[in-house]
């Protein structure tokens, strides 16, 4: 934009007014010279802020990854982590002093770290997409029933003891049920080829309520063991993450993110409203369908293995938008990084805060995310009169 501001201060020739040649003030042009220098410098602030933010997020991400690798029941020094990393990559480095170091890192901590990164990125990106495409700051994947549907699928497979896919059954059931629920909510709130946002949210509320009741019924039907399993699944945890899971989740998340970034510039236009976007050539409903599918895939992939992790998709996009503004190419990238950092940090706290115990991470994100979101709301209201 900076070159535009240069052009503006050059004062482009205004259109002539053939009808009123005798007027003293014939042009609609603004001289506006006193304000021009200030305006010209203003748009430059965002790129600088963005650079600082991206650098900060990248450094933080690497830092937290390293910290997470070092922390745990078996403390490992950063140097040992580095050596183990090199050994794993086939570089000839002397063996670790403690023999279990490699096993602790490569079969427990590294997969868990990588799962936290991709799941955090997926949840935050999904939240950004939802908010963008419905031009609504409250849109969150949970609204369209992704989480409750997935929870229902997981609970059903636990209670009925489904095992047709072995140990993957719960994850697959959660993924499928989440996807189906999302598509049901979306398609049933469409009418005459259009989706009304309020209808979508209300449909989501109805479906979420139904799914909640069905979940309660399943817990009632199940025995104590499955009840406990359902409760803990719902609370969310990255405990027990393995490379095989990462190998399933990562490609889904990467595919979803690629589509998201391809759509980023179009997403900006949604902030003009449906008609405004359409007038600029956007197939509003077409883009929405693609985005809803992408969101469902991203969130279901995350939820299937980690359970329900709330607020990441709601808070991270808001926070990033406050820092670098709403332009979606930057916002998506920042949200991906921010979501990864947030979930990784939350998981680190979850497994180290209480010795010998793994706190449910979904509990943690809601515990911190809820009050934080409240603060964010108050602050935004004060500064810009709210989002609406």
């Amino acid at each position: 934009m900076s070159r535009v501001s240069d052009l503006v201060t050059d004062a482009v020739t205004p259109p002539s007014s053939p009808a009123s040649p005798s007027r003293a003030e014939p042009s609609p042009a603004a001289p506006a010279s006193p304000a021009a220098p200030a305006a010209a410098s203003a748009p430059r602030r965002r790129p600088t802020r963005a650079a600082i933010l991206f650098a900060g997020l990248a450094v933080t991400l690497v830092g937290v990854m390293l910290l997470a690798a070092c922390s745990g029941q078996l403390p490992i020094s950063p140097g040992e982590v580095w050596n183990s990393l090199l050994r794993g990559l086939g570089v000839d480095v002397p063996a670790a002093a403690v023999p279990t170091t490699d096993a602790a890192l490569w079969s427990i901590r590294f997969p868990r770290i990588m799962m936290a990164v991709v799941i955090g990125a997926a949840l935050a990106a999904a939240g950004t997409l939802m908010q963008a495409v419905f031009a609504n700051p409250l849109a969150e994947p949970g609204v369209v029933g992704v989480s409750s549907g997935a929870a229902l699928g997981a609970a059903a497979s636990i209670v009925f003891g489904w095992a047709f896919l072995g140990e993957w059954t719960i994850a697959v059931a959660a993924f499928a049920a989440g996807l189906v629920t999302t598509l049901f909510v979306y398609l049933s709130s469409r009418s005459g080829g259009k989706t009304e946002v309020v209808t979508l949210v209300l449909t989501g509320i109805a479906v979420n309520a139904f799914a909640g009741a069905a979940l309660a019924l399943l817990m009632f039907l199940g025995d104590a063991g499955s009840r406990e399993q359902i409760v803990f699944w719902q609370l969310g945890s990255l405990n027990g993450s393995r490379w095989q899971q990462f190998a399933v989740v990562a490609p889904l998340v990467v595919a979803g993110l690629v589509v998201a970034f391809l759509l980023a510039r179009t997403l900006d236009l949604f902030s003009l409203g449906e008609r405004g976007a359409r007038h600029l050539g956007v197939n509003v409903e077409g883009v929405r369908i693609v985005v809803v599918v992408v969101v469902a895939v991203l969130v279901c992939a995350a939820v299937a293995f980690a359970g329900i992790i709330a607020f990441v998709g709601l808070v991270v996009p808001h926070l990033m938008r406050m820092i670098i503004g709403p332009v979606h190419r930057g916002l998506l990238a920042a949200s991906v990084l921010g979501g990864a950092v947030l979930l990784l940090a939350a998981d680190l706290v979850a497994r180290t805060a209480v010795p010998m115990a793994d706190l449910p991470i979904g509990l943690l994100t809601s515990l911190i995310g809820g009050p934080f979101f409240f603060w964010l709301l108050r602050r935004t209201r004060r500064r810009a009169g709210g989002w609406a």
Partner: protein, 281 residues
Amino acid sequence: MTAQASASGALPVTDAGPDPALASTLAPALAAQGVGVVIDGATLLDGVDFDARPGEVHALIGPNGAGKSTLLGVLAGDRPAASGSVQVEGRPIGSWRLRELARTRAVLLQQHDVFFPFTVGEVVAMGRAPWRGTSAEDDDERLIAAALVQTDVAHLLGRTVPSLSGGERARVALARVLAQAAPTLLLDEPTAALDLRHQEDVLRIARARSRSGDTVVVVLHDLNLAAAYADRITLLAGGRVVASGSPDAVLTGERISEVYGQPVEVIPHPRTGAPLILPLR
């Protein structure tokens, strides 16, 4: 005096003579025949014929609920007509791809809100979206800068749109629509939120665009603005066309009094001769 020129009168495009390329541009940029719109049993439009040609400012006027915005929505392709047909540059509007349509016509709505805190510069740049990936992208910066200056929002460049006043937001929306550089402009009450000077600005811009060969359809409530700037006026009431033609022909005291339910007198402006509509008070 151009305000009263007939559509085939003093327009620059006709001065070029029989050049076939220019003559073909005189075909209606937008045309509608027998358009009807019914929603929930209410007839919003009924058998409306309409056309707008390159080089003219065509004003749509009428009392509240006359169907002006509905007609504009049909012409913009936002809502389908239950009956009748609409053509854009001679082709049925339904056969246009959205992106092509966006390069052909730009629409200014009454609603100018921007949902997230985009800056003025970012919003105006959105007007260039239909041209992404074409050679017209080279003009982006020039057109954006020109639109910012024309609408007098250049000094707001770095401000976020939600922090602006209603009138400023309306001008930013207009700047975005102008930056779109489409040869047909559909403007729905572009002067509603604006002060005196910026109202005149908007219509001066509309007229300048029409004089360079573009087509402008503008919904107006201010009959004097319509009288001063429109080449043609279509008066709607109850979803039907009551009258259509030059301002002098349409804006008669008797007709306006009857359609609006408010007695008026129409006198020629002492200097320009344009009709002046004054409510009887």
